[in-house]
Symmetry: C2
Subunit: 389 residues, 2 copies
Amino acid sequence: MENFIFQNPTKIIFGRGVHKEAGREVRKITGRVLFHYGGGSIKRTGLYGQVMESLKKENIRVFELAGVKPNPVLSLVQEGAGICRKNDIGLVLAVGGGSVIDSAKAIAVSAPYPGKSMWDFVEGVTRPLEALPVGVILTIPAAGSESSDVSVITNEDGMIKRGYHNELLRPRFAILNPELASTLPPFQVACGAVDIMSHVMERYFTRTENVDLTGRLCEATLKSVMANAPGAVKNPADYNPMAELMWAGTIAHNGILGTGRTGDWASHKIGHELSSAYGMTHGLSLAIIFPAWMRYVYRIRTGIFCQFAERVLDMDTGSAPEEKTIIEAIGKLKEFFGSLGLPVTLKDAGIGEERFAEMVEKTQLFGPIGSFKKLDTRDVMEIYRLALG
Amino acid sequence: MENFIFQNPTKIIFGRGVHKEAGREVRKITGRVLFHYGGGSIKRTGLYGQVMESLKKENIRVFELAGVKPNPVLSLVQEGAGICRKNDIGLVLAVGGGSVIDSAKAIAVSAPYPGKSMWDFVEGVTRPLEALPVGVILTIPAAGSESSDVSVITNEDGMIKRGYHNELLRPRFAILNPELASTLPPFQVACGAVDIMSHVMERYFTRTENVDLTGRLCEATLKSVMANAPGAVKNPADYNPMAELMWAGTIAHNGILGTGRTGDWASHKIGHELSSAYGMTHGLSLAIIFPAWMRYVYRIRTGIFCQFAERVLDMDTGSAPEEKTIIEAIGKLKEFFGSLGLPVTLKDAGIGEERFAEMVEKTQLFGPIGSFKKLDTRDVMEIYRLALG
């Protein structure tokens, strides 16, 4: 086990009806809020009105910024930061999924820095000293951004998608009501489930030894997602599986599962380029890339992949050769993603090799990626090729 | 799943050598500290000197209060609170195990209330509005007090041992270095392992339905403790199993495993009376009482006990009658506790029925106990009898 520091102070408020407590939570922090959201879906479902009512009840002055799209962009972040500065905003309230939350975090960390862009932080030119508090009302179990320390933003100048980590980014509170996910399209729920599993697997497949407890906690979370995702995809209004999935989404990414071990995160970066190039939903990119990554790297440490087969997929690994077990396990994982209604190869997603060279190059902008196996240009190209199917 | 609120802001600093960072952590909060500990063991091991050096290096003014004994008492708490008030202490630094930490928390919550005793809080006469911050350097994996919201104190007036819960009690930081546990007697490590498992099991055996994820996380933690405790008991200086046990101790009691479910906690209360009456080590009382409690209550919800047999003890429950499986599982759990070198019956611990009546009565001071099954006088008597062996 490696030495580590872990702290996650986000207050989680979980359950039926809890979104109506938004106003009360905001009031403890400020009277001026930036209400940040995506498109019209929260207006259609009535959530917009309920949140507004909850804020008004506490006499909170509300400023609004809508328009977050999947793969949130730097230009909207800068617009939001400007609104915050101009109006002395005390908290950014994200109402939505991972993209809205990531955008809100980026706004929160940009607001105190007039004239600067948070891309300076991403590139390590300078470091933030403070950030506005962020509050969350989550509408989809997926990104885990509701209590994570990371924001993933796309810089339209070059269409570069990058994650930025900083403890300042952890939301002050996160309101999780599984009922709010009841109107999601099944495709979104499926992508969310894959995203959650990927957050666990990025941590699980490690070269760090002697991480028994966190390994088992990862396995437990993966098993729970695999047990509940099919029900949540089939009927997003079924409270129980959706509740399990939503809490798993937070647990997967609140940091605990990564304590004492080095995670990999190459699959995320390789998948990000599919989002940048084709606008592919994040979870879908992972359903396609993660199995390809596994296939490419498993020889580095077969033991952890056999353990995955045995403990997560309940495979009887008995006397079978390790390699056979692992290939079969990867197949089973793809089968599971497929059973959620997702394509699991680039071909099935209608994507060919045309832009591979450009995508590969972008993954290397900050040097080789990953830690389980450091991946250079040639490696990433191989993984895209394996993902073709 | 039940609605819940979860927040645990304790900063965990984990690994080899990290206790030397104590001074730096304290300095972020205050320049005046109450160094609170037990007997001479931290002086023998050199930890006392190292902590003192780390504090002095940051020019922190140190006041001392030693003398915490297992099952910490209210009188010492009051003495500590007095020292804090008189010397304008800014943080109580607990260096030790659960008893020292619980005592420190009680001091921290008492200090701002001159003329009052924290027993008023325990009895619900009044509620605290603030508390001093607490810092922890942990020397034994067991109580989980390093990031929990509870302090268990014994009031010598009547020898009543009670837990008091309040979010104000969560330590600001906790320094966990498994090396510090390397000199523990194996008996203490064994008792710690049972305490950790009991914290999980008190949450695991619930009547709340649809708690798949937290159920699996509980199982993962139990399995990890069962896999690592034997090694840690055999050789407390073996870093890896001790590290797993130490992190499990925190995970078991930081609140996550109880989210969305109602815990029981009757076994703790029944065990507390053995500590009050006989000075029995807390973990040992649980090794004796928990299996007796299981035996007495399992019929309420056999499914969860069968699940425990299957998923935690790897029993093949196949076609065996439920009752047979459960009795066998309880036997296996006792066997495991026994394998750590602990007596698992009152008789083996040299205790008879002489004081049962008095102990039973004390468990009912605040009414019936537990929630899986509400236990009254008659029930608790039955459990003590079952524990006789």
